[in-house]
């Protein structure tokens, strides 16, 4: 019953999945933030999409404000792409690859993430 996000990993031995938090920590159709070593990861949970249940992991820091707020934005879909709107200046980032629609030079890091039973697992290289 695992679904990973759109950044598909090349099959490789270096990738290891590690548990980040529990499924119950997620908020349906919205975001939460997890601590990953020294980084902040925004996790978005979409229980129902065209391709089934999906979870995305994307960097929490908004490049425009420098504040760690991406996890508190609104989820949406623009021209087919799932996006997160930053809550401060409302620019949109694609969940699949972290690209900013309004400022293409801004890109957020994304991580592969999956649900494994009750665990939310992230692939850290």
């Amino acid at each position: 019953m695992s679904q990973s996000n759109a950044v598909r990993l090349q099959p490789s031995e270096n990738v290891s999945w590690r548990a980040l938090c529990s499924r119950r920590d997620l908020v349906a159709n919205s975001g939460v933030v997890a601590w990953l070593d020294d980084e902040q990861v925004a996790l978005f949970h979409l229980p129902e999409t065209e391709t089934g249940e999906q979870v995305f992991a994307i960097a929490n820091k908004d490049p425009k404000s420098g504040a760690n707020v991406i996890g508190r934005g609104i989820l949406g879909q623009l021209k087919g792409d799932l996006v997160i709107a930053s809550p401060l200046y409302k620019q949109h980032f694609r969940l699949a690859d972290g690209c900013c629609l309004e400022y293409p030079e801004q890109q957020l890091q994304v991580w592969p993430v999956r649900l494994n039973g009750d665990a939310v697992e992230i692939a850290a290289a």
Partner: protein, 852 residues
């Protein structure tokens, strides 16, 4: 390196007068590049820069001098025009070609007189002070307002266009208004006898006294009111103030003393090139007399200004050949229209007339002797015929087989002159001389927005009389080019907010998913439609926004019920209804602020804002605030914010009602009401207005008999005074009207539209709003009140709701897998409190993510 060529400003041009026409002339000069050729000086006698005199009566309806101004405050300076406001020109020294002011002497090469006109006050013994007011400038209006503060009844002398405007102004100040006219009918210049009679009965129905064929012989001390006006027929009328509006006279005093040629009936004589008998001096607008005619309307003045500017720039221009005096207005809410030869004075002219005595409507169509052309018309009670008739008259369009159909009540089959029937040469906006062809050009150039069209052509920005026709032509041309006027909310809903609201109500939809499935596209929605629908659902059903199905719809501020600040921390504003707080609660608030080290500031809405809380601290902070008796203040929502109040009759020696009590009652009723945008209230205990209620969406001001209700004001980026909506209301009626007003706003406004913008966009304006809310013209009042009552009954403090529910609280964690706070949030201390650190104060901490 290129040499820099400084244009030599060889000539000095002086414009005397900064009214609408003088301003338009300068604007035209700027647009035509005259500033590279002329050094331009403008002298204005009034303190204010040019303002819109056509809409002067709106000054009492809430508009201030700034919003009436014809241009931005820095417009003249930005274009290098030397502006001398509040400076009277004392003399024109034609020999030395200099003007003399208190500032000194200023030489000129060319001079434009745009001094306008002044109100004529007949010499009546006893007319002085408050019995000799006039209605022309903003200062005049201030004087009228001051005089009205202690008055019950006001009289306007003069039943012409301006006199009726002035009567409207008195009425809007809450006075019993009367009009005294010398002629046997109202608006004798524009209307015929039947037209005048229809207008009279309409205006009397509004409670305005109309006294015709009366000449005032003297004004003496009154018995019941301050003054008594004794008429020539032995009758008298008592009043507290008198406004003279018995016509205007050209302001030609400067020209007279400079010994320029003056027309026998006043006005500086000009030729077709606007030149006086001194070739360096020109005159335009109401101070000029062409062919022994003075034109007292703005459109001919603009025509003169435009053509003179072209002439001075050496461009081709139209010699003046007279002007159309057709006019369309709403006087005291009554439609009045007059086109061309309204009196059928042209030899052989034939008329059709339609008289409806039941509804006091009257229409007259005047045709040429051969019956082939419209040469004039009179309309009372319904101006929807005006645009079509004017086009027939101005463009010589061939008449339908039965010309009477042009003024008969519209039935489905009646021929109306559609936008497509107009020739390209048809003038739509006569103030700015914009033709249908010019509008088509802009549509071809790609303009699809009415606002952009107005900005590009200026059409509809003069007297505004052409707005409806302009919109009609614009939309017709867009449709003709296959452009769909897109009013979709976003890519997920091809519907407007208003349509979605209707669907949610009618179909009883309570979730976003259901609405999207039935009426939208896609699975997810976006950050435009989600908050808009979230707001609609809350306005209709008022379910807790923290419910799992609703939470993903909310903007971050609503999601976490606090206001996100620039560094990602939140500010917290508990409700302090009416600004009233006990010492104990104040201490409790201080204790919480101190414990969590929150930056503390008093807000403009008489509340206290606590800044700098991290997400995980919000539940603890709110537990303590709720414990101390506070509830959420909705500072984060598009909803009722505060009801500001003064102490009122409880403490204040001037107070006439308990304003704090009313503020508490109102805030308690409407707290938690979600709406298209935020809503603010103010309640003042007397007319001194210490709560600044007139700058609020809902303003309530105490009177000796109850409450005056003001609506649709706001502060912010574009301040707007609230307009007087109803007077002397008792408590229950006040609340009923506010219920209806707010629910009607919620029902019909666009998303994120404040009440002020909504009100300005309402067709029919304030009068229409009054009909809906007060007269219940749409038969909606009971429904609106019931809808409001449901929202009121379902109120629950959102924070209290969330605190009880561990599932809802789990989102209030900075990290779901770690106890720490956000390590990137840094504060420094300033003036005894902490504030976010500036970027330069963080030497070692990168403030922006590096681009990958």
């Amino acid at each position: 390196m290129n040499a820099i060529v400084t244009p030599i400003k060889s000539e000095t041009l002086i414009v005397i007068g900064n009214g609408m026409v003088g301003h338009h002339c300068v604007e035209q000069l700027i647009e035509r590049g005259a500033l590279s050729q002329y050094q331009v000086h403008v002298y204005g006698e009034e303190r204010q820069r040019a303002y819109d005199r056509v809409h002067l009566s709106e000054y009492f309806g809430g508009r201030d001098a700034d919003s009436l101004a014809m241009c931005d405050a820095d417009y003249y300076a930005a274009h290098g025009v030397h502006m001398h406001l509040g400076v009277q020109v004392l003399e024109i020294d034609r020999e030395r070609k200099e003007v003399v002011t208190a500032e000194g002497r200023q030489p000129y090469d060319k001079l434009i007189l745009a001094t306008g006109s002044y109100p004529f006050v007949p010499p009546i013994p006893g007319a002085e002070g408050n019995s000799r007011l006039v209605y022309r400038t903003l200062d005049d209006l201030d004087a009228i307002r001051a005089a009205a503060s202690n008055a019950k009844r006001g009289v306007v002398v003069g039943g012409g266009l301006l006199g009726l405007e002035a009567a409207n102004a008195l009425k809007s100040l809450g006075l019993e208004a009367h009009v005294v006219e010398f002629a046997p009918r109202l608006m004798p210049v524009q209307l015929d006898e039947e037209g005048g009679a229809a207008l009279k009965s309409r205006i009397e129905a509004l409670g305005v006294g109309v006294h015709l064929s009366r000449a005032t012989q003297e004004i003496v001390i009154g018995e019941e009111y301050a003054y008594r006006m004794n008429f020539n027929d032995g009758e008298y009328l008592e009043t507290d103030l008198i406004v003279f509006s018995a016509g205007i006279r050209p302001q030609d005093a400067l020209a007279r003393s400079a010994e320029l040629e003056i027309a026998p009936r006043g006005g500086v004589v000009i030729d077709a090139d606007y030149r006086t008998n001194d070739p360096s001096i020109f005159a335009i607008g109401e101070c000029a007399s062409w062919n022994a005619m003075v034109y007292g309307l703005v459109a001919p003045g603009y025509t003169m200004a435009r053509n003179l500017a072209a002439l001075l720039c050496g461009e081709p221009h139209q010699p003046f050949s007279g002007a159309d005096m057709s006019t369309k207005l709403k006087l005291l809410g009554v439609d009045v229209g007059s086109i061309g030869d309204a009196h059928a004075a042209t030899p052989g002219a034939k008329s059709y007339r339609f008289i409806d005595e039941a509804n006091a409507s009257y229409r007259r169509l005047v045709l040429s002797e051969d019956g082939k052309r419209v040469i004039g018309a009179v309309l009372i009670g319904d101006n929807s015929y005006y645009d079509t008739l004017l086009q027939y008259a101005q463009n010589g369009i061939k008449l339908p087989a039965d010309p009477s159909s042009l003024i008969l009540p519209l039935s489905d089959g009646a021929p109306t002159l559609g936008a497509d029937a107009l020739p390209d040469t048809a003038t739509l906006c006569s103030c700015h001389n914009v033709t249908k062809g010019a509008v088509c050009c802009q549509v071809d150039a790609g303009i699809t927005d009415l606002g952009e069209l107005k900005a590009a052509t200026k059409a509809g920005t003069g007297c505004g009389g052409c707005s409806a026709l302009l919109k009609q032509v614009f939309e017709h041309e867009l449709t003709a080019r296959g452009v769909e006027v897109d009013k979709s909310l976003c890519e997920h809903f091809a519907l407007t907010r208003q349509e979605l609201y209707g669907i949610v109500r009618v179909e009883g939809i309570i979730s976003f998913a259901e609405l999207l499935a039935k009426h939208g596209r896609g699975h997810t929605g976006c950050d435009i439609c989600k908050p808009a629908v979230g707001s609609i659902l809350a306005s209709c059903w008022n379910q807790p926004i923290t419910d799992p199905g609703l939470i993903p719809l909310q903007d971050t501020n609503d999601t976490f019920m606090a206001n996100m600040q620039k560094n990602g921390t939140y500010s917290v504003v508990p409700r302090i209804a009416g600004g009233e707080i006990t010492p104990d609660k104040l201490i409790a608030l201080g204790a919480v602020a101190k414990k969590y080290d929150l930056y503390t500031k008093i807000t403009g809405g008489q509340r206290i804002d606590l800044f700098g809380a991290q997400l995980h601290e919000l539940p603890e902070i709110w537990s303590e605030l709720i414990e101390a008796g506070f509830e959420t203040g909705h500072a984060y929502g598009k909803s009722l914010r505060t009801v500001k109040s003064c102490v009122g009759s409880t403490w204040c020696r001037y107070g006439v009602q308990d304003s704090v009590g009313m503020a508490l009652r109102l805030e308690d009723r409407y707290k938690g009401l979600r709406s298209p945008h935020k809503i603010k209230f103010g309640v003042s205990g007397c007319t001194r207005e210490c709560a600044e209620a007139q700058s609020k969406d809902i303003g309530v001001i105490a009177t000796e008999n109850g409450w005056n209700l003001y609506v649709a004001g706001n502060g912010g980026m574009r301040p707007r005074h609230a307009e007087l909506f109803a007077t002397d209301l008792d408590d229950e009626t006040l609340i009923r009207y506010i219920d209806r007003f707010l629910m009607f706003y919620i029902r019909t406004a666009d998303k994120l539209q404040r009440t002020s913008v909504w009100r300005e966009s309402l067709e029919g304006g304030l009068d229409y709003l009054k009909e809906v809310v007060i007269d219940d013209s749409l038969n909606l009042a009971a429904e609106l009140e019931a809808q409001m009552q449901l929202v009121v009954d379902r109120y629950e403090c959102e924070w209290a709701n969330a605190i009880k529910d561990p599932e809802k609280l789990k989102r209030f964690r900075t990290f779901v897998n770690d106890q720490r706070g956000d390590p990137d949030v840094h504060f420094v201390r300033e003036r005894g409190q902490r504030r976010p650190a500036h970027a330069h104060e963080l030497h070692l901490i990168p403030v922006t993510e590096e681009v990958l």
